[in-house]
Amino acid sequence: MPILEIAAKFGTYAVMAVILIFALGVVTFRNLFHCALCLAAALIGTAVIYVVLQAEYLAAIQILLYVGAVVTLIIFAIMLTEHLAGKTARQNNSQSLLAIVGLLGFVTLLATLILKTPWPVTPTALQAKNSVMGLGKALMGTYVFPFEVISIILIAALIGTVVIAKKDAPEEPL
């Protein structure tokens, strides 16, 4: 069914374009809340790209963790600090021009590199079907040590966050 395949391919490119547009929105919108919403949209789009790359599990995790947790967290922070980010405040600092020039150089350099490099793409790998079970086994087998380290980091971050964000409440008798 070549028609469907071509349509899907163009669909994918379209999704990429949409992601880039939203990403531009993230860095250019004056209103931070809109930025956060654009970020959410870009992240959901990225999840679609993951599905295209046959990483469905990761797509679901992306939505669950990024959209469900990180963006929510960011929006929380925006709301708590919101009234300072009024519309009159300047949103960009003075180094944007220099940054754009540097970035253009960076992108052109790396893009030429990417296009020049003969990537060792193996057709067999493209056919390989990965399963959630294999992922789980790898996580609990080969990568069990990094996995545990990550969990320790998460706990440390949790405690650290609570400690940092906690108000120094006056001592109250219990």
């Binding site: 069914m1 669950l64 959209v67 469900g68």
Partner: protein
């Protein structure tokens, strides 16, 4: 192969779809048939969602009415059956009010976006044998991920309204939904462990047995998991007694204070569709989904789901609202440890599942419940001070 008439009743919808597709395949190219297959499922779900929502409102009003010793709507049509349609017309024709200071685009987007995840969850609900719209191998994870997105449009609505009640409601919603998402996800884990799959279909199939009654709820961890899941589901769709985000006595109407007309209807619809899908998933995970003796599979599924919805309505008619700190404490200090213990119990169950395992499970659960209840005992301060601002 000769099949009994029950099979055909069971497969009535599946057969209908296959018949339509084969009919189209006669004179159209293959890719259109594929598109058509997707379209049929999509259209069915797109219709099913609103219809279910409409009649859920009627059901709720009727049941609540009976609980409160009155009749409920009974004027429009026989037994008030046309009442939802009348309501719909009213909603469509109402004036759409947008506050002057509102962030207009986001204000418009929020009710539209909130319907999307609500509808998307329908994709992985197994309505009957072979009646899952998209049989994803990560179906359950898909459900969890998509339902977590629901927070976002609520935030959008609350923020865009530029109303302090809306904002407070939105903040409360976010806190509540994030908190209850964690025990809900963990409550699902035992079912995944036992069926060794994330696919909703496989989970249902793992509950086959004599008379199709080998449901997960008939195990100790199943009961606990089901109760936790159901409580969290009630909290997730902001229904009483967890309806802090839209507590009308405190916050007018929470995040949708500034919505009217069709936009409000969309919020309303999303809420009811969420209630339905959550009950459906609960039935799938713990009540054997479409499994059951004698009756056709889809009937079993809808029966179980509506039973659970009736329980939710019953909650609404019975329980008073939580206090905010109790609400959060309940999720973090009670449900979360209990789910972890439940997961441990399931792991034990995988090695032995006999009478001794039952006794052990009940012992462990009893002790941990007792400890948790002891630890969670709160006390009310003798006198509270509400300093008046001058």
């Amino acid at each position: 192969m000769i099949r009994s008439w029950e099979f055909y009743v069971d497969m009535i919808f599946v057969t209908a779809k296959a018949w339509i597709l084969s009919l189209l395949g006669r004179f159209l190219p293959d890719w259109i048939v594929v598109l058509a297959s997707i379209t049929i499922s999509g259209v069915v779900i797109l219709c099913l969602g609103p219809v279910i929502m409409m009649y859920l409102t009627l059901l709720e009003r009727k049941v609540i009415g009976r609980i409160q010793n009155r009749y409920g709507p009974n004027r429009v049509g026989k037994w008030g059956l046309l009442q939802p349609i009348a309501d719909g017309i009213k909603m469509f024709t109402k004036e759409d009010i947008v506050p002057a200071n509102a962030d207009k685009i986001v204000h418009l987007l929020a009710p539209i976006v909130i319907v999307v995840p609500a509808l998307m969850i329908f994709l992985v609900v197994p309505f009957g044998e072979r009646m899952t719209a998209v049989n994803l191998n990560i179906g359950l994870l898909f459900f969890i991920a998509v339902s977590s997105v629901t927070i976002l449009p609520i935030f959008m609505g609350s923020w865009a309204s530029r109303n302090k009640y809306s904002l407070l409601g939105g903040m409360r919603t976010a806190a509540q939904m994030i908190s209850y998402e964690i025990p809900m996800t963990l409550a699902v884990v035992p079912a995944i462990m036992m069926s060794q799959s994330l696919s909703t279909n496989t989970i249902v199939l793992a509950q086959t047995g004599d008379f199709d009654l080998h449901w997960f709820i008939f195990t100790p961890w199943g009961i606990v998991g089901f109760i936790i899941f159901f409580l969290c589901a009630t909290a997730e769709c902001n229904r009483p007694p967890f309806d802090l985000p839209e507590a009308e006595s405190e916050l007018v109407a929470g995040f949708h204070t500034e919505y009217s007309g069709m936009k409000f209807a969309l919020f309303y619809m999303a809420e009811y569709m969420n209630a339905f899908t959550l009950c459906g998933i609960a039935a799938t995970l713990f009540l054997g989904g479409w499994q059951g003796p004698f009756l056709p599979s889809w009937l079993w599924f809808f029966g179980k789901t509506f039973l659970l919805i009736c329980v939710m309505i019953w909650f609404r008619g019975t329980f008073p609202r939580f206090r905010v700190d109790h609400l959060m404490g309940f999720a973090w200090k009670f449900l979360l440890p209990l789910t972890l213990i439940n997961i441990l119990l399931t792991a034990l169950w995988q090695f032995t599942s006999n009478l001794t395992a039952w006794l052990w499970s009940i012992l462990i659960l009893g002790i941990s419940l007792w400890i948790l209840v002891k630890l969670n005992r709160t006390f009310v301060p003798e006198k509270r001070h509400y300093p008046l601002e001058s």
